[in-house]
């Protein structure tokens, strides 16, 4: 831990002021880099213990992050379903066949519309007769009671629940339209549930982040205790608190970083394992859905967060326990 550094000449040794300052910064950085490397060397001398601590951190981080990735996948998937949602426009019964076809053509040109399918009153009646079995009863009626229907297929631009609602309102405003209908309750519910789950993941992440702090803190506390005699000697021969603190802080950084790497590996392996069954399921529904993995940005964020947690955990432990060790 308190290995021999190779410090540069001290600041006093340099004559030029500018030079002296940049030299001091360099010396400072170099000394930190040396402790960073030597603390990794220290950890590598007890590989099993180090790995176990890092693995606990990794698992704690993998849980919320993995859930987050699954949620993102679910969102993508439900986005696909959203695209399949249709809007049915029931036209007023006094709308002529020509008017209906004109309207259909106008709607096809709208930016949010992918396709429009026209079902005339007669077609609707035929379909109804064929499917419902009420054909004879309908014969008793003089007029065809069914309206013509335009089935609208919204395109990508109108995917989210909000923009679909907007499109719906817009379509309703056409004078020929009697009723515009979209059953998107289920998708609203799905979104609400996902929002709740997302909140849950945030809470889980906060709790497990706290767990990481405690794990790192406890590991560093034990390291401090096992080096008690050494710390006392170093204090007796004039080691500053910063000098004693530094290797422990860097151990915390390494634990965090290693834990983060383990979390990335764990999540990727887990996703690889479920990607097979997911692919089969998607194939059953003829969906092009593909499971997405951790992006580069997410990996960088995860590693930064885990490293910071490691640093913070060791900082707390060091702040609390180093002061208790004084020569007597």
């Amino acid at each position: 831990m308190f290995r021999r550094n190779k410090p540069l000449p001290r600041r006093e040794a340099i004559s030029g002021r500018q030079h002296g300052l940049s030299m001091a910064v360099k010396t400072y950085l170099l000394r930190h880099a040396q402790v960073l490397v030597s603390s990794l060397g220290q950890l590598s001398r007890t590989p099993v213990a180090t790995f176990m601590t890092a693995a606990v951190i990794g698992i704690a981080l993998a849980l919320p992050t993995g859930l987050h990735v699954l949620l993102d996948n679910a969102q993508q998937l439900s986005g696909g379903w959203q695209g399949a949602t249709q809007i049915s426009l029931f036209l007023k019964t006094d709308t002529t066949d020509f008017q209906a076809r004109t309207l259909a053509n106008r709607l096809r040109k709208l930016g949010e519309v992918e396709d429009v399918h026209y079902i005339s009153r007669q077609q609707a009646l035929n379909e109804f007769k064929a499917l419902s079995g009420f054909g004879d009863a309908l014969k008793a009626l003089q007029d065809n009671p069914l309206p013509a229907v335009l089935v609208i297929q919204p395109n990508n631009k109108a995917r989210s629940p909000a923009s679909t609602s907007l499109l719906l309102a817009k379509l309703k405003a056409y004078p020929e339209v009697d009723i515009a209908q979209l059953d998107m309750q289920w998708i609203k519910r799905l979104y609400a549930i996902m929002a709740i789950v997302r909140q849950g993941v945030v809470i889980l992440a906060a709790l497990l982040g706290l767990a990481v702090l405690l794990v790192v803190g406890n590991t560093i506390r034990l390291a401090i205790q096992s080096r008690r005699a050494e710390i006392v000697v170093i204090k007796l021969i004039g080691g500053t608190d910063a000098f004693i603190r530094r290797p422990f802080l860097y151990s915390g950084v390494w634990y965090g970083l290693l834990g983060g790497i383990i979390a990335v590996i764990a999540i990727t392996v887990a996703l690889l394992i479920i990607s097979g069954p997911v692919g089969q399921l998607a194939a059953l529904y003829q969906s092009p859905f593909k499971l997405s993995y951790l992006g580069l940005g997410s990996i960088v964020n995860l590693l930064m967060a885990s490293t910071l947690l490691g640093l913070l955990g060791s900082w707390l432990a060091v702040g609390k326990h180093l002061r208790e060790i004084e020569p007597t």
Binding site: F2, R3, R4, N5, K6, P7, L8, P9, R10, T27, R31, A229, E230, V232, V233, I234, K235, L236, I237, G238, G239, T240, D241, F243, E326, P327, T328
Partner: protein
């Protein structure tokens, strides 16, 4: 170099370990601190190294009043004092070289300078051939000499030793005292707490005698 003015020390919940101690050691002076067990020898040395602080009175080291020294300055104060312990206090997971180099590493001395000064210190205690050994492989006397080398490696103006010869045979003890004597001759102030009255008798140095926390010989009014 060391000045105690009316210094008293009372441990929390205990009686006075030191009462109204007055003395002054000049630069380059070497003195023995003696007295029965429990007389306060270790306590006096701890006041100098700020392991403990005085309850009353003033301890002035090299012109610095220790009662005015804030906690964060203590490490820098200790770098001016070489401390030698009865139980050596060496780090057993490091070589002799690394043990002796530690004060220099702490002070941020350049590495080529470190090697030079460590070898010079080991040479003074005749252990140059042991620099790559681990302390556990050395005899008690050799370990104590490593401790001395570590204490003097950054050339402190003040050397303190608490029972440095406690576990050593008379010949080795004598040898260690001679090493201290040499340092005092080049201007280092040396204060040695010891029980070893036979050894002290053979030397002509000043004696500070403590009895139940009072300095009964060698001090000043």
């Amino acid at each position: 170099m060391i000045r105690f003015s009316d210094v008293s020390k009372r441990y929390p919940g205990g009686q006075e370990a030191l009462s109204n101690v007055n003395f002054h050691l000049l630069p380059g002076e070497m003195a023995f601190l003696t007295g029965h067990s429990g007389a306060g020898k270790s306590t006096l040395l701890k006041l100098v190294t700020l392991i403990e602080r005085s309850s009353r009175g003033q301890v002035i080291i090299n012109g610095q009043n220790l009662s005015k020294l804030p906690r964060r300055r203590i490490p820098y104060h200790r770098r001016n004092i070489g401390i030698i312990f009865q139980d050596h206090q060496l780090l057993f997971d490091r070589t002799v070289f690394d043990n002796v180099a530690l004060p220099l590493v702490i002070a941020g001395v350049p590495s080529n300078e470190i090697a030079r000064r460590v070898r010079a210190a080991l040479d003074k205690v005749s252990l140059l051939n042991k620099e790559k050994s681990y302390p556990i492989t050395l005899s008690g006397g050799e370990q104590q000499r490593v401790g001395i080398a570590r204490a003097v490696v950054n050339k402190p103006p003040l050397l303190l030793a608490d029972e440095p010869t406690g576990n050593l045979d008379p010949d080795l003890s004598w040898e260690i005292m001679q090493i201290f004597e040499q340092f005092s001759q080049v201007g280092v102030t040396v204060l040695v707490a010891t029980h070893d009255l036979d050894l002290i008798k053979r030397m002509s140095n000043r004696r500070l005698v403590l009895e139940q926390g009072r300095l009964i010989q060698g001090g000043e009014a």
